[in-house]
């Protein structure tokens, strides 16, 4: 657990800067700092919170704002499902906690580390997840309290640091040429869907399912050729 806590710190620093920016935004929309802290701890979904609060401020319609935010979270069906080999070995209460504290960053880092060391599992996921939850909650609340006097770091390219981190994690997950075609298909389908105005959350889910489906088809086809 301690290893996960340490490894996630650079990513947590980046998430903290984002949380800070979100806290500033939410405070400007009349959310109190403790309300933002409560939202961050109980929802723990950065992009969903940002979209929902923005929609709520502009439209004033709760269900629409919540649905817009939650749609972004649909990728977590795939993300949590992929954790099954890691989660099935821990007791149910821990599993129920682990799914709440799992975010993009600690999920991806867990798989990147696991690709190099098979002993990395649930303790790493939970240690890194607790760090992310704590940093996200504190940074959003701090942003709401004191944020207006500090410049918006996202304007300096902070958002790209996450893209770069995901590129590095993909590199760590690379298993060889067998991954090339599914990954290319996933990349092209995801970008294609977004270009055709499909919501990012659906595009991520559909793109990755396309990649996995291609792998399944390739395995099936290989099996048939062997039988022939």
């Amino acid at each position: 657990m301690k290893y996960g806590f340490i490894c996630i710190l650079p990513l947590a620093a980046g998430a903290g800067a984002y949380g800070f920016a979100f806290g500033v935004l939410a405070a400007q929309l009349d959310f109190p700092w403790w309300g933002i802290a409560l939202m961050s701890a109980s929802v723990h979904a950065g992009s969903s919170q940002i979209v929902a609060v923005e929609q709520f401020a502009s439209e004033g319609f709760i269900v629409g704002a919540a649905l817009a935010g939650l749609a972004l979270n649909l990728r977590y069906i795939g993300i949590i499902a992929s954790l099954n080999p890691i989660l099935r070995v821990i007791p149910l209460p821990q599993r129920l906690l682990a799914i709440h504290i799992t975010g993009d960053e600690n999920w991806a880092l867990t798989f990147a580390k696991r690709a190099q060391d098979k002993s990395v599992g649930a303790p790493f996921l939970m240690g890194s997840g607790l760090t992310m939850l704590l940093v996200w909650t504190i940074s959003t609340a701090t942003g709401a309290l004191i944020g207006k006097s500090i410049p918006d770091l996202t304007e300096y390219g902070l958002g790209f640091a996450f893209t770069a981190a995901f590129i590095a994690m993909a590199r760590a997950m690379w298993r060889g040429l067998q991954d090339a075609m599914p990954w290319i298909v996933t990349f092209m389908v995801t970008i294609g869907l977004i270009k055709f105005s499909v919501d990012n959350a659906f595009a991520i889910l559909m793109g990755s399912i396309s990649g996995v489906a291609l792998t399944a088809f390739a395995h099936h086809f290989k099996g048939h050729r062997k039988n022939d």
């Binding site: 959310f31 309300g35 409560l38 939202m39 109980s42 929802v43 723990h44 979904a45 969903s48 929902a52 609060v53 709520f56 709760i62 269900v63 704002a65 935010g69 649909l74 990728r75 977590y76 069906i77 795939g78 993300i79 949590i80 499902a81 992929s82 099954n84 080999p85 099935r88 799914i99 991806a108 300096y156 390219g157 902070l158 790209f160 640091a161 996450f162 893209t163 770069a164 981190a165 995901f166 590129i167 590095a168 993909a170 590199r171 760590a172 997950m173 599914p182 990954w183 995801t190 970008i191 977004i194 990012n200 595009a203 991520i204 889910l205 793109g207 990755s208 399912i209 990649g211 399944a216």
Partner: protein, 99 residues
């Protein structure tokens, strides 16, 4: 805090956790099917590639150049912190020069 703000937080919290719980159940169902189970192993890689694609889909040319540089650093170093740091520096430098 107003009643509507409380309600928004409650709906988001319940909705976000429900989506994660569906993922947990789906993972267990898929793992019980030997034919489907091996494809759970392919899902993380495809999901992370999809996340990268979504963040680059509407990006400008500078971001794509920075992404290419980050990929080179990742391939050479295989290190998350180095790639993240150099990725941020390259993006910052490109913006400073060209914007």
């Amino acid at each position: 805090m107003t009643d509507t703000q409380w309600l928004l937080i409650a709906i988001l919290a319940v909705g976000a956790y429900s989506i994660r719980f569906v993922g947990l159940v789906c993972g267990q169902i898929v793992s019980q099917n030997a034919g489907l189970n091996k494809f759970l192993g392919d899902l993380p890689g495809c999901l992370i590639v999809a996340l990268i694609a979504s963040s680059l889909s509407d990006a400008n040319a500078l971001t794509w150049v920075a992404a290419a540089l980050a990929l080179i650093v990742a391939v050479i170093s295989n290190n998350v912190v180095a790639t993240m740091g150099l990725g941020f520096v390259s993006m910052f430098t490109l913006k400073f020069i060209f914007v």
